[in-house]
């Protein structure tokens, strides 16, 4: 009987026969004899194979059922931001030499990935104004959760405080990570003191509602009681506003997605992770260092691995063993391509467009901006009726509105405006809102 052909498998039946002969068994089934007989060859309820053409058509059909952020006006943010992804980013990230390599365990044949990772650590430090960075975490929320665990290791304390303007989903992820270790997670209002034995104070900056926090005051609150200041930052905002590092933050994490990663329905992204160098040995994740080879040539290698799970096992700083390296590559390409001037220009475009949108909406009857302070590219709007209904009306006009935050603010909607939104889109949004009262 001829084995059905599969385009990803080179062996022919003649190859298989020759190999079985070398092994000394008569059939492939013999190779599975260690599986208890009654449990072998269960049926798979998976449809028959598709040709590449059929597969492409099926995925195109599925993709067409999504109203994506490039198909018309979209004003969603809330942790994932619609920024332009340069052609260079995708072209480099799709190079097979980067795309199909493994973690650089063999540095002699992984210098490309290793140097890119060293670049990521360098440019992350430059961008966030911090002393050391690791090679990357899964994404922003779990990076923040790991920062909370790290603060507990550094201080030997088991309480974690957070400003209640933290993203609800970030708070939920921090809870998932801290609860099993018996760490108490509690909110603090501005000016309120921390509970005794608090390991760190977590602040999102700009906060979930898009506004800058008073990091000067919060730094004092944290450090006066010996707690670390942990900031979850927005990397785009960090190019325009004073950095968390300049306020004395001890650990700064960030979602890397705004730095040229596709929205991709929430992932894959990369969590950026930085800290003061005195805490380096408690940092989770991969770290690449610069060294030399036997001939004195500059080269890069995974280092400080005694923190990690494959050496320390249950005493490791974390179980993580990925660094989202491909996304790290895309971030580095983005930072290199936009550079010093382009990054600041993107941040300013977002700032001006968002403030223009806010100025139009604030004038609309029934709508108001309930929060005071300085915002970057997101702001909360109080709608005259439930945001769910407002968004449904916007969608009928082809506009994806903001995030419904009515559980936090009555009739609250969180709007985000980036460089991707044209003046026409912003004015169409204001017009559609005005018609939805």
């Amino acid at each position: 009987m001829t084995t059905p052909f599969t385009p990803y498998i080179p062996n022919t039946d003649a190859d298989r026969q020759a190999m079985l002969k070398a092994i000394g068994v008569s059939s492939v089934a013999d190779l599975f004899q260690n599986i208890p007989t009654a449990y072998r060859n269960p049926p798979l309820h998976i449809p028959p194979p598709l040709s590449e053409l059929e597969l492409r058509r099926e995925l195109e059909t599925l993709a067409a059922e999504n109203r994506h952020a490039g198909a018309g006006p979209s004003f969603l943010g809330a942790g994932a931001y619609n920024h332009y992804v340069p052609a260079v980013s995708l072209a480099i990230a799709n190079r097979g030499e980067f795309l199909t390599a493994y973690t650089p365990y063999q540095p002699e044949v992984s210098q490309g990935t290793l140097q890119v990772t060293y670049e990521l650590q360098s440019l992350t430090c430059q961008l966030l104004d911090m002393e050391v960075a690791n090679a990357g975490m899964y994404e922003g929320a779990s990076a923040l959760a790991e920062a909370a665990l790290m603060a507990c290791r550094v201080t030997h304390r088991y309480r974690v405080a957070y400003r209640d303007t933290l993203s609800p989903s970030y708070r939920a992820v921090v809870a998932t990570y801290t609860a099993p270790q018996g760490i108490e997670l509690y909110p603090v209002a501005p000016g309120a003191p921390l509970k005794p034995e608090t390991a760190c104070l977590i602040v999102q900056h700009p906060n979930f509602y898009g506004y800058l926090e008073d990091l000067t005051a919060l730094e004092q609150t944290a450090h006066k009681d010996g707690a670390l200041l942990v900031v979850s930052a927005d990397p785009t905002a960090a190019t325009l506003f004073k950095t968390p590092g300049s306020y004395g933050a001890d650990i700064v994490t960030a979602e890397g997605q705004p730095l040229g990663l596709p929205l991709s329905f929430g992932g894959p992204y990369i969590g950026l992770f930085t800290c003061k160098s005195q805490y380096l040995r408690q940092m989770p994740g991969r770290i690449v260092g610069r060294t030399v080879d036997t001939q004195g040539r500059t080269a890069y290698v995974l280092t400080l691995q005694t923190r990690e799970q494959h050496i320390r096992r249950e005493r490791a700083t974390s179980n993580i063993c990925t660094s989202e390296a491909l996304l790290g590559l895309m971030v580095v390409v983005y930072l290199a391509t936009l550079g010093k001037h382009g990054l600041r220009q993107v941040a300013e475009l977002c700032y001006h467009k968002a403030h223009y949108a806010a100025s139009l909406i604030a004038k609309l009857p029934g709508y108001r901006l309930p929060m005071n302070g300085t915002f970057f590219q997101e702001f909360a709007v109080q709608c005259p009726k439930p945001p769910r209904e407002v968004n449904a009306a916007l969608l009928e006009r082809g506009i994806i509105g903001g995030l419904d935050i009515s559980d936090a603010y009555p009739n609250g909607m969180l709007l985000c405006v980036t460089e991707m939104n044209t003046r026409e889109e912003i004015e169409a949004l204001a017009k559609a809102l005005s018609a939805t009262r």
Binding site: I46, H68, L99, L123, G267, R290, D293, A336, L395
Partner: protein, 495 residues
């Protein structure tokens, strides 16, 4: 072959870093002009005054990264038999469909009615993965194998808490296990105890029975084991753990050997994670992104990480939406998992179909056993029995000749092959763990075998050649001690 010169050659790339490249004033991309009236900026004391980042033109950027890429070995360019990593071919169509605008530009908080295609794909993938694992339900939220492990042990923790058995804090793990298993268990708040392996590479059943006491929370078990072996006593092991009131966690890192051959659920596992970046062919990207969906049996389904995708019928039309399991351990990421990876895995499953997936495990196991049969005379076998998808050799014999497993691995780089996994599992002396996968044909395997046999001869006749390898790579062996003792972890401005 030994290279002694350090002078630059056309093939020695310029390793200067981005911050030392370019010229002030250069830019790599043109951005749109501001098309709204400029708005007042906040006061200067809130603004950043310096942004020390590179200034490069676009051609400089492209050439820099392209040259760097050429310093890597990768699946697209080399055989990459890295054990326990399942470095199989990553189909190109999968990358293309993940970048369709409807997929790549979809916002994670888009309303459900604007994301029906994505939700439908996720719902189907949940079903395919649960079926392949023999489990009731799959959550796609976990973004890596290690995070899948963490979710799995947290589910076991939550299960015992809910039953009021709060003193069940012991997690058993075989001594052959990957380091993430004990690290994940510790993050989950468990005390970890190792169970030894027996002379045939199976778990020591007597030791397991002794350890399975009233504090037992569960057992974490990789199947096939990290020794590349199918655990002969798997049914008895699951039974012992269950009788002691514990649950069995399956590490599905090696599922490439089991596709269509056996199902975790049927064998007695309560929860298992699957590495889409291994078994389901999504590219490793130089160390991520991956995805580690968690599949649960009926006992643990209510505890799965959020969200799940559910299908509902309304007015004769089917619609998909996110739901949160009743007793969920919570969220593990800000959104819904590594969707771009899920799209690739879905495309892989659709391209192969059920019959193709079964063929995957057959050829993966055939290829590994062929390597074992052809290399067993030149190298020691860790365990002399049929292997599954990978074979663990020991360089114990070569070590006596003064050549370590590390040296053999480095020498393979000179032959144009990526090295096997070295010194893992920890319980095998001078371990070389070789996983060929099904996407390599017999000619490639034969070329690799020839290289391994040649190196075995070199180890006897010209051991220095092996000890000083590699010779033909962009750099030679690195001073790793210096990297750790004098950490240089970022670019710094020259003083």
């Amino acid at each position: 072959m030994t290279q002694t010169t350090t002078s630059p050659s056309p093939n020695t790339p310029d390793r200067a870093l981005l911050m030392d490249r370019g010229v002030p004033g250069r830019r790599g991309i043109r951005l749109p002009n501001l098309d709204v009236p400029a708005q007042p900026l906040p006061s200067a004391d809130l603004l950043r005054d310096d942004l020390p980042l590179p200034e490069l033109s676009q051609p400089e950027v492209v050439r820099y990264f392209t040259r760097l890429s050429q310093l890597n070995y990768s699946i697209d360019t080399q055989f990459y038999p890295l054990g326990s990593c399942t470095m199989k071919y990553n189909p190109k169509i999968n990358d293309q469909v993940a970048l369709l605008p409807g997929m790549a530009n979809l916002h994670p908080m888009a309303p459900a009615q604007a994301a029906q295609g994505a939700l439908k794909l996720m719902h189907r993938l949940q079903q395919y993965l649960a079926d392949a694992a023999g489990m009731a339900t799959a959550s796609l939220a976990t973004m890596a194998g290690a995070q899948g492990e963490l979710a799995g042990v947290l589910m076991i923790h939550a299960y015992h808490q809910r039953r009021g058995e709060t003193d069940r804090n012991l997690m058993l793990i075989p001594d052959s296990a990957h380091g993430t298993n004990p690290a994940s268990a510790a993050m989950g708040g468990f005390t970890v105890a190792a169970i030894p392996s027996d002379a045939r590479g199976n778990m020591d059943i007597v030791a397991l029975r002794e350890a399975a006491g009233p504090h037992l929370a569960g057992l974490m078990l990789t199947l096939p084991s990290t020794l590349g072996l199918f655990e002969n006593n798997i049914l008895e092991i699951c039974d012992i753990v269950h009788r002691a009131g514990g649950l069995v966690y399956g590490d599905g890192a090696n599922m490439n050997a089991l596709l269509g051959q056996a199902k975790f659920g049927a064998l007695g596992f309560d929860v298992v994670h699957i590495n889409l970046h291994k078994t389901f062919s999504t590219p490793h990207g130089g160390g991520g992104p991956g995805a580690g969906p968690v599949c649960a049996g009926p006992t643990l389904t209510p505890f799965l990480p959020a969200p799940l995708v559910e299908r509902a019928s309304a007015g004769g039309k089917e619609a998909y939406h996110f739901t949160t399991p009743a007793q969920t351990i919570g969220k593990v990421g800000a959104f819904h998992g590594n969707f771009g990876v899920l799209v690739r895995a879905y495309a892989y499953i659709r391209a192969l179909g059920g019959e193709g997936l079964r063929q995957v495990s057959e050829d993966a196991v055939l290829n590994a056993n062929y390597l074992q049969a052809r290399l067993r005379n030149a190298y020691d076998l860790a365990y002399d029995r049929l292997c599954m998808h990978e074979v663990v050799l020991s360089a114990g014999r070569q070590k006596k000749q003064g050549v370590k497993g590390l040296d053999i691995a480095k020498r393979l780089l000179d032959y144009g092959f990526h090295a096997p996994t070295m010194y893992f599992p920890l319980i095998v002396d001078e371990a070389l763990m070789i996983e060929p996968t099904e996407t390599e044909g017999k000619e490639t395997l034969d070329a690799f075998i020839d290289a391994m046999l040649a190196i075995a001869t070199e180890a006897q006749e010209t051991p220095d050649l092996v000890r000083n390898a590699p010779h033909a790579t962009p750099v030679s062996r690195l001073d790793e001690a210096r990297a750790a003792r004098q950490p240089d972890l970022r670019w710094k401005a020259k003083a």
